[in-house]
């Protein structure tokens, strides 16, 4: 693909690197975590050098992800504050899903769906980290009821987060011209005008 100098910059290199660290950690966490979640997934431990290694590595990868996510959170939280237009967009998201997005309200850098995802993931990350530490038997010894609660929250929230990430990744694949924003940071002007018109106006001054 020829990169047009008139393409719009959407992410800096450090934002992209930060996102990839979180993303890779998440995939590793989902694979190793699911292995303990249900016997159907137990063979996934083989990706980590066996079940004992999966058990050892998972929480450390979790800590790395939690720290990297704090950085993502600080970078993007202001851009993800909800506005009335976002609510309007969410109400009409069905139209978007059926593939007809021509009449959707104009969106800034992020649409209502992306913002919702951001906040749910932020809460999820917090819950996963706290509950993950509660059930980390190798280093911690919390009250048994807390550990049991931690196990329920960790497993339940993990399922929710994995489902959300499926949707997140699919959305990036479905909306053509999106993934390059995470590879090399730019999007075409046409992409921006179609999907994030308010942001397009803001950065181009049109």
């Amino acid at each position: 693909m020829i990169r047009d100098p008139k393409d719009l910059k959407r992410y800096t290199a450090s934002e992209r690197a930060n996102h990839w660290v979180v993303g890779m950690c998440f995939i590793l966490l989902a694979l190793s975590g699911l292995a303990f979640f249900h016997p159907a997934f137990f063979p996934l431990t083989q990706f980590f050098g066996g079940p004992v290694w999966a058990r050892i590595l998972h929480p450390f990868i979790g800590i790395l992800m939690a720290v990297s996510f704090v950085s993502i959170f600080l970078r993007f939280r202001k851009l993800n504050l909800m506005t009335a237009t976002d609510v309007e967009w969410l109400k009409r998201s069905r139209e978007m899903v059926t593939g007809d997005d021509h009449n959707m309200p104009e969106q800034g850098k992020y649409n209502g769906g992306q913002k919702m995802l951001f906040w749910v993931l932020a809460i999820g990350m917090l819950l996963m980290t706290v509950s993950g530490i509660l059930i980390w038997r190798a280093y911690f010894h919390f009250d048994i009821t807390l550990v049991r609660l931690g196990a329920v929250v960790h497993a339940g929230m993990a399922a929710v987060m994995i489902a959300l990430i499926f949707v997140h990744v699919y959305a990036a694949i479905w909306v053509k011209g999106t993934i390059r924003a995470m590879w090399y940071g730019t999007v075409t002007r046409a992409w921006a005008k179609q999907h994030h018109r308010a942001w397009y106006r803001q950065v181009t001054g049109k």
Binding site: H38, R55, I135, A138, I144, A151, A159, W174
Partner: protein, 300 residues
């Protein structure tokens, strides 16, 4: 254990039936707390037979020694002083795995075959398959399993499954000098207990009874208690042990359902793509931008 491996009722993290063509008789160990003198011969026998040695501790002013179960101490005597009916009573309970019919440890374990329940009722840890996550500790209603600091594997009483497999009684039973620990079929042990309970009642222990808690489906280690109405007196023996509702929620139907939902989301995405097609940038918008560029070039 080639032959014992035909007697497996349940295996942790396994969704298909285990090898169970044989039907050995259900066994039980009966601990008559009212006959126990707290000599700890059973602790020593356990340590000898299983060849495990807890480090020698320090005297802290009570008889409990070691003070708690550990990877190297699968049974410990717990001593408690209490006043019942105006008399001092010294209640001594041999603590260890209860070998639940519905074991919370096995329900919680994520590693296939790390915990097995034999058809004779023995719940056994197979440390070779243990991954050290500690989920069994989370699941056990009696706070029994211990993770070794040495190798991060879970350990607990095996009810001497190796001895029982060849027709012998557990080492603690063999050693007990007062006959306070007996072993046999669960049926027989209940009968022995009934006789002993009746005797205790004639001696004024109106609340004497058998501890075989039904909340965990009954256990394969049972106690005769003088105060069966107050199991808590015996160093915190739970009155109505069950697998915690939190553990049932964690390990119940929610997980297979969540798995189906995840598969549904993945497949739903795929079919969304093939039915509605990709969301491409509209040709008209691309044209608009090109037109703008051309205008700009012309103006220059």
């Amino acid at each position: 254990m080639p032959l014992q491996s035909l007697d497996i009722l349940r295996r942790s993290a396994t969704t298909t039936p285990s090898t169970q063509v044989r039907a050995p008789v259900e066994v039980a160990k009966l601990i008559d707390v009212t006959t126990c003198i707290g000599c700890k011969a059973c602790q020593v026998a356990c340590s000898e037979w299983n060849d495990i040695r807890e480090e020698v501790g320090e005297c802290v002013g009570v008889y409990d020694n070691p003070r708690d179960l550990s990877a190297n101490a699968w049974t410990v005597m717990r001593f408690n002083e209490t006043e019942e009916n105006g008399k001092l009573e010294w209640l001594i309970r041999k603590d260890g795995c209860m070998h639940c019919a519905d074991p919370g440890c096995l329900k919680s374990c994520p590693s296939p075959g790390a915990i097995i329940q034999y058809k004779n009722g023995i719940v056994d840890f197979n440390e070779e398959n243990c991954i050290g996550c500690g989920y069994c500790v989370t699941g056990c209603p009696f706070n029994v399993p211990r993770i070794s600091k040495q190798d991060n594997k879970a350990y607990k009483c095996s009810l001497c499954s190796d001895r029982v497999a060849v027709g012998q009684e557990p080492a603690c039973v063999k050693t007990c000098p007062t006959g306070a620990i007996q072993f046999g079929s669960k049926e027989d042990m209940k009968e022995v207990a009934a006789g002993r309970v009746a005797e205790l009642k004639t001696r004024g222990y109106d609340q004497a009874g058998l501890y075989d808690p039904q909340g965990v489906g009954g256990t394969h280690v049972m106690y005769v208690l003088h105060h069966a109405d107050k199991p808590g007196l015996y160093s915190g023996l739970p009155a109505n042990p069950t697998i915690s509702p939190l553990v049932s929620l964690w390990k119940g139907v929610a997980k297979p359902l969540a798995t189906l939902v995840l598969a549904g989301v993945a497949l739903g995405s795929l079919f969304h793509y093939v039915t509605t097609g990709p969301n491409e940038v509209a040709k008209e918008i691309e044209d608009e931008i090109e037109a703008e560029d051309r205008e700009k070039e012309d103006a220059q």
